[in-house]
């Protein structure tokens, strides 16, 4: 059931009404029933996958948690009599006990994800290398498998680290894993954050409901009015790579950046807004990402929950692992301090970006996309001292104008890398970006051809107005230090103004929605990941 379908609107209305009608203690059960129905809509058989992951993770978490708790109790009772070595030995012995439970659960669930999502990619590569003809597995991919697997594994790692106590109730844990607004495209919530508001029944709070509703409507506007309207032109430019080069590639980079932003942040607005209407808080997934001044900053503002997942559960553990520190120490002794210091950062960065690329999809374009991000990240890290000197030497480089230049530069670099996702072909992507510097085409573009690419002049006007609206909303947020959003200001206005804005957004979605809800709305781009 897509967010942009009639069924979903009816489903959401029913959940919302029932949630506030039934006694508080039953409300989380309603959400679990709703999430199960939502998931089963994509295929009842898929429930097996998600609930298998939920059940195994819940069981392993409970087991590890009980071992850790017993260790803590004994440790606290005996630590006064232990020396440093004894404490270390005691900790190591407990870790050994939990290690196998932890690894078994981790490998089983990541194994399922790997087999379902990547086996055909591996077979395809084997066939290509050995000129073989092995049959494909053609697994049906369960809805949101990357998202719910990451959510569950994050919980498992946290429990293994003793960060918080495990959830004792398997049904509550199943709700955390399958919570319907988040299951298709995130945010990838952390258990300690989401559980604070997920299980308790909330009082009806009209401000929260209105704010959530405005956010949901704004999400629909971004998705249906802006993102979906750009689909035909993006498809035309992507498919006609031999025909549309130079200026057309620049246009495609710009339009796809807008489409992806409107699509993904729109979906996340709907997901977070639904939660807000029910009194449930989710982590933010975007904080004005296109205002980033460099790529490292960009990745702390775009798809934040995915980036922080990779940082906390892959980047940090790899870079501070014993073998990495040992490697760093050896390199430091033999090759100097600079090399020794860089080895953990670079190796972990390569692994993380490879994994991030693969997470987005089983294709070489995504792997190359990940590696390009890795190269730019490392280059930006290496250039930091140079930039520091530059900013000290030239004071004008600290002005607002220069900041805007940095934002524009980052926007285009990220857009150029992202183009791999559009062409879905590595050599074509590179040659197309190269054509920006070798082929013109500006005359063609502005002599009327712009309006023959799939969308009309009227559509362009709607898109431009949409971009202006997104820009205005994000500037309001950015200018107050990303603390207060447009919705927060709206709640300070009289109810009549709030009602007008809500009605306005609703009318915009209904009239200007590219295809109209339930007709032929395109799937969210990030659903496929």
């Amino acid at each position: 059931m897509s967010f942009t379908s009639y069924e979903f609107i009816a489903f959401l209305a029913a959940i919302f009404l029932l949630y506030y009608l039934i006694p508080k203690r039953f409300r989380w059960m309603l959400l679990l029933a709703g999430s199960t129905l939502f998931y089963a809509w994509a295929g009842v058989e898929f429930l097996l996958y998600i609930f298998f992951t939920a059940l195994t993770t819940w069981g392993a978490g409970l087991w590890i948690g009980s071992i850790n708790r017993r260790r803590r109790e004994r440790f606290d009772a005996e630590k006064a009599t232990m020396d440093r070595e004894a404490k270390k030995a005691y900790k190591a012995a407990t870790k050994r006990k939990t290690r196998w439970i932890f690894l078994a659960c981790l490998l089983i669930n990541l194994g399922i994800l790997a087999v379902i999502k990547y086996s055909d990619f591996v077979i395809q590569n084997i066939n290509d290398i050995f000129d073989a003809n092995n049959a494909f597995m053609n697994f049906a991919v369960p809805l949101g498998i990357s998202y719910y697997t990451f959510k569950s594994m994050g919980y498992l790692i946290d429990i293994n680290r003793g960060k918080y106590e495990p959830q004792k109730n398997p049904a509550k844990f199943a709700l955390f894993v399958s919570f319907f607004p988040q299951v298709i495209q995130g945010p990838i919530s952390r258990y300690d954050y989401l559980s604070q508001t997920l299980f308790e029944g909330h009082d009806f709070n009209s401000t929260k409901v209105k704010k959530g509703f405005v956010r949901v409507l704004w999400g629909f506007c971004k998705k249906l009015v802006i993102a979906d309207r750009l689909v035909p032109i993006v498809k035309t430019l992507a498919k006609g790579s031999d025909q549309y080069q130079g200026a057309f590639v620049l246009l495609l980079i710009f339009l796809y950046a807008i489409q992806l932003y409107a699509d993904f942040t729109g979906g996340i607005d709907i997901a977070i807004g639904i939660g807000e209407m029910l009194g449930i808080k989710s982590e933010e997934n975007f904080i004005t990402p296109y205002y980033s001044k460099n790529i490292n900053e960009y990745w702390t503002r775009w798809h934040i929950t995915m980036g922080s997942w990779f940082k906390d559960y892959i980047f940090y553990p790899i870079s501070v692992s014993k073998w990495m520190l040992k490697l760093s120490k050896n390199a430091r002794e033999k090759l100097g301090k600079g090399v020794g210091k860089r080895i953990p950062v670079y190796l972990a960065n390569i692994i993380v970006w490879f994994a991030t690329g693969l997470w987005h999809g089983a294709a070489w374009t995504f792997i190359v996309w990940g590696m390009l991000n890795c190269v730019v990240t490392v280059a930006s890290y290496e250039m930091e001292p140079l930039y520091g000197r530059f900013h000290n030497r030239f004071k004008w480089s600290n002005t607002a104008v220069y900041n805007v230049w940095q934002m524009i530069r980052t926007f285009w670099i990220m857009g150029a890398i992202r183009i791999l996702d559009v062409y879905r072909d590595v050599p074509v992507s590179f040659s197309q970006v190269g054509s920006i510097f070798t082929t013109g085409g500006y005359g063609r573009l502005f002599s009327g051809e712009l309006f023959t690419l799939g969308i009309s002049a009227a559509d362009f006007v709607v898109v431009l107005l949409g971009i202006a609206a997104m820009l205005w909303v994000s500037i309001v947020f950015y200018r107050n230090g990303n603390k207060k959003r447009f919705r927060d200001y709206l709640m300070e206005k009289p109810f009549a103004v709030q009602g007008l804005v809500m009605a306005g957004l609703l009318i915009i979605v209904l009239i200007f929605g590219a295809y109209g809800i339930g007709y032929d709305a395109n799937a969210f781009i990030y659903n496929q990941f």
Binding site: G162, Y316, K341
Partner: protein, 75 residues
């Protein structure tokens, strides 16, 4: 503490690490800096900071980081 301050100042000479207590909150230290600090601390103090201790509250100030090192030395 002096040695720790030297490590930090080498990374960001422009920052006053003795007074700043928002190193993570204000995004002065990024993930690359944190790993550099962990490898330096390991090399200078022979203390391995595990991944589960890489938390904002442990890296927000030089004092918090020093407390962490002392605690790990003690464990």
């Amino acid at each position: 503490m002096e040695e720790l301050l030297e490590i930090l100042e080498e990374l960001h000479p422009e920052v006053d690490f003795e007074t700043c207590d928002t190193l993570i909150d204000d995004k002065i230290l990024d993930s690359f800096d944190i790993i550099s600090i962990v490898t330096e601390v390991n090399s200078v103090f022979d203390v391995a900071i595990p991944a589960e201790e890489l938390l904002p509250e442990n890296f927000n100030s030089a004092k918090a980081l020093w407390d962490l090192i002392e605690r790990l030395q003690d464990e």
